[in-house]
Amino acid sequence: MFKTKILLPLVILMSLVLIVLSACTSTSPTTTSPVATKTSPVSSPTLAANQVLVVNLAGEPATIDPNKASWAGERSVITQVFEGLLGFNQDLTLKAETAVEIPTVQNGGISADGLTYTFKLRPEVTWSDGKKVTAKDYVYSIKRMLSPEVASEYASFYYAIVGAEEYNGAADKDEATRARLRDAVGVRAVNDTTLEIKLVQPLPTFLQLMALWPVYPVREDIITAQGDKWTEPPNYIGNGPFILKEWVHQDHMTFVPNPNYWGTKPKLTTLTYKMITDANAAFAAYKNNELHITAPPVGTEKATMADPVLSKEIVRYPELTTFAFQFNVTKPPFDNVKVRQAFSCAIDREAFVNNVRNGVGKPAYSWIPPGMPGHDPELGKEYAFNPTKAKQLLAEAGYSDVSKLPEIKFQFSDTAGNRTIAQFLQGQIKDNLGINITLEPMESKAFTQLVNAGNHTWAWFGWGADYPDPDNWLPQLFGTKAGNNHTLYSNPKFDALAKQALSELDNTKRLQLWAEAQKLVMADAPIVTMFYRERFVLVKPSVKGLKTTGMDGQISGDMFFKEVYIAP
């Protein structure tokens, strides 16, 4: 009697489990779905009747005000509704968007001393309500971005502009002083179609900064009238290929083509951003044909590549992001360069990328990622995985007996991906060096604070490009006392090289200087680079014209959604 009363429910449970297991491993064809799934005939761009693209923004954007925005998701919205003077091609070279041409010394756009930039605007560019975009709109936008009240997170990037830093630092000054400083900022509209910007000192990467969203034009009249509400439709007026028609907070955003767009109009009739935060839910939505693009949950890539249907829908491309371990070079035992090099040799990056990460990503032996000018594929190989060399280096550092080492803690911000990496690292150090490190998972902000204060021993971090140049990758991280230098690394030779490179107008010489600087850093090993991240997404076969870049926002291909169309 006892047995049957327990067995029966157990059997029911088992059958439920079996049903679920079988459901997980099979994908079934769709019947009722908002997303077309038939593949199209190859060559000619025949359009399906339903030109609706549905993608996942993975969360509600904090702000879509171009002057204030900083997160990838926000960028995904802004690049649809606004367009700047300059932009990036798919290969990350600069192109002229609302400017007629890229300013150069030859065409007079850049003065010979590199201090004055003149942009000629296309006269046909209009806002979505029909009004013309003029140089005044850019002036207003740049000054607003630099204003202390707006407190834009990217303001410091533009301190090269005359008067920018002073104006941005005027938070506690009175009205009159602030107005005066504002007028003194070196940006002015020569006429409706000419914009002039003056710099404090030459900055060879300034054009790249002008391709970023904080300097997209915005409408002074709307912002003055609506205040913070201007980012809600229908006030959210831009000059880009799409209009934000509807924003249901925390739920979705709907874009439609801008009828007054000056360029080639998008073929899509509707672009929808959903806000699914859970990776598994997004994957389920994709399988239920509610999304056209999604990333499979991290760790399931192998299963995805083995799936007969999904494996054909994979799109992979490298991202300009490097992940590395950063030491605190002031804390023993990491104050000894040989110890740092030893640790670098003790980690099998290949195994991590190929086995743990299913081959998604590339092992990294140097800091600047492939696709970025300055990437050196040969650099750093002398500290590749080599357990014998690792032990040797450790012995040379004076630690042939590993029990003499002080306790080593590894701190990381506790997320699923980080936990895997941390435990992998722990295993590697134990197996290859015989050292037991202590893992310290930390709550995200507590971790950030720890690292920013320089109190960590050894921590995990990632760095993604704001713009594709070593300017953005080396000085803030490795310069003495630089803003993002949490390794506390300091090398006067590096600082000298950086100073030179930041103002060197000859691009070849400049990149050479950065290459030297990077070599210094890799030799001193304040960080152990681990891997370059790769985007691994699924795209429904009906989606055509998708152009992915290493600097995509939150959604793959979002820099070129205006060229996407749905095949029948």
Binding site: K5, I6, P9, L10, L13, I19, V20, A23, C24, S28, T31, T32, E60, A62, T63, D65, K68, P148, E149, A151, S152, E153, A155, S156, E165, N168, G169, A171, D228, K229, E232, H249, Q250, D251, M275, I276, T277, D278, N280, A281, A284, A285, K287, N288, E290, E443, S444, K445, A446, F447, T448, Q449, L450, V451, N452, F461, G462, W463, G483, N484
Partner: protein, 305 residues
């Protein structure tokens, strides 16, 4: 009784004030602040931001300003969602979370109580054992796993329900069930346990011996006494359900307020944290008051002296 209620409402205001103060204090004591980023912001930018949001002022001044705003119905600003005030954020999300919570609550009591009663009345039968086993299973599966399982079965496998979002009954079914599972299991077991306690009492035997019909015995004697513990736990469960579940709202992309608190904590958005806490504190205090009143209604022997 009215005096009692009036006194409780005064206490409620005091409770809210205390909760606000403690939360405010904790928020500022916790390591890490809203502007700490992996890509550290320039010091001038941080200074500007602190000034903009008044974070450079002394603690009590900040707290005072917050309470002043609260008394005027203004819950402050959000650092995450910089262009919308906390009041409007909560007002927008509240109806959705509350609807979902209410549906889940109704599911939980209309499944839980009958099952619990049936199990108690037929103790040691198949009904009893299967209700025990099922309630255990549902309590051992965390809500997010249950949610995903439902999604896999009904969306991915059967294609009959959307995976998430908001807009009609088909969007509520799965999250409501996922939310209701554990409370239903819990309520059914408490009901069963409590009824078993009561069934064995002498006065029940007396009532039966008196020849009263089973239904009258059930309703007038057993249920009224058994309901006390059920009420005790159902109240807070309702408050919890209404203030939303972070996990379920994340998985099913419900545009409600359940996600706000955890988001706020992890990003140190003081406005969101305070708003969510105060709302929850208010809900709990009201619910506990209602439960206490219902105790007296259900069991005439209970007095509040």
């Amino acid at each position: 009784m009215t005096k009692y209620i009036a006194r409780r409402i005064l206490w409620l205001l005091l409770v809210i004030f205390v909760v606000a103060f403690i939360t405010f204090l904790l928020m500022h004591l916790v390591p890490g602040g809203p502007w700490d980023r992996e890509k550290q912001l320039a010091p001038q930018v941080v200074e500007n931001l602190n000034k903009k949001y008044g974070l450079d002022q002394p603690f009590l001044v900040q707290f005072g300003k917050y309470i002043w705003g609260l008394l005027h119905g203004d819950l402050g600003v959000s650092y995450i969602y910089q262009d919308r005030g906390v009041t409007s954020i909560i007002l927008e999300g509240l109806p959705k979370t509350a609807t979902l919570g209410l549906v889940a609550f109704l599911l939980a009591i209309f499944i839980g109580i009958p099952f619990g009663m049936a199990a108690a009345l037929r103790q040691n039968s198949l009904v009893d054992y299967s209700s025990v086993i099922f309630s255990t299973i549902f309590a051992s599966i965390p809500a997010f796993v249950l949610g995903i399982l439902l999604m896999i079965v009904f969306s991915v496998f059967l294609h009959v329900l959307p995976t998430g979002g908001w807009g009609g009954i088909s969007y509520i079914i799965m999250p409501a069930f996922a939310l209701a599972a554990i409370p239903a299991a819990y309520i059914s077991r408490i009901t069963r346990a409590s009824m078993l306690e009561v069934i064995r009492q002498d006065y029940v035997r007396t009532a039966r011996a008196k020849g009263l019909g089973e239904r009258i015995v059930l309703i007038r004697h057993i249920l009224r006494n058994a309901l006390i513990p059920v009420l005790t736990i159902t109240g807070p469960e309702l408050a919890t359900l209404i203030s939303g579940s972070f996990i379920i709202e994340s998985i099913f992309s419900i545009p409600g307020i359940g996600r706000l608190f955890v988001q706020g904590v992890f990003q140190r958005d003081y406005g969101l944290i305070m708003g969510s806490i105060l709302f929850y504190a208010f809900a709990i205090a009201i619910v506990n008051l209602v439960v206490d009143i219902l105790y007296a209604a259900v069991d005439p022997r209970i007095r509040y002296d």
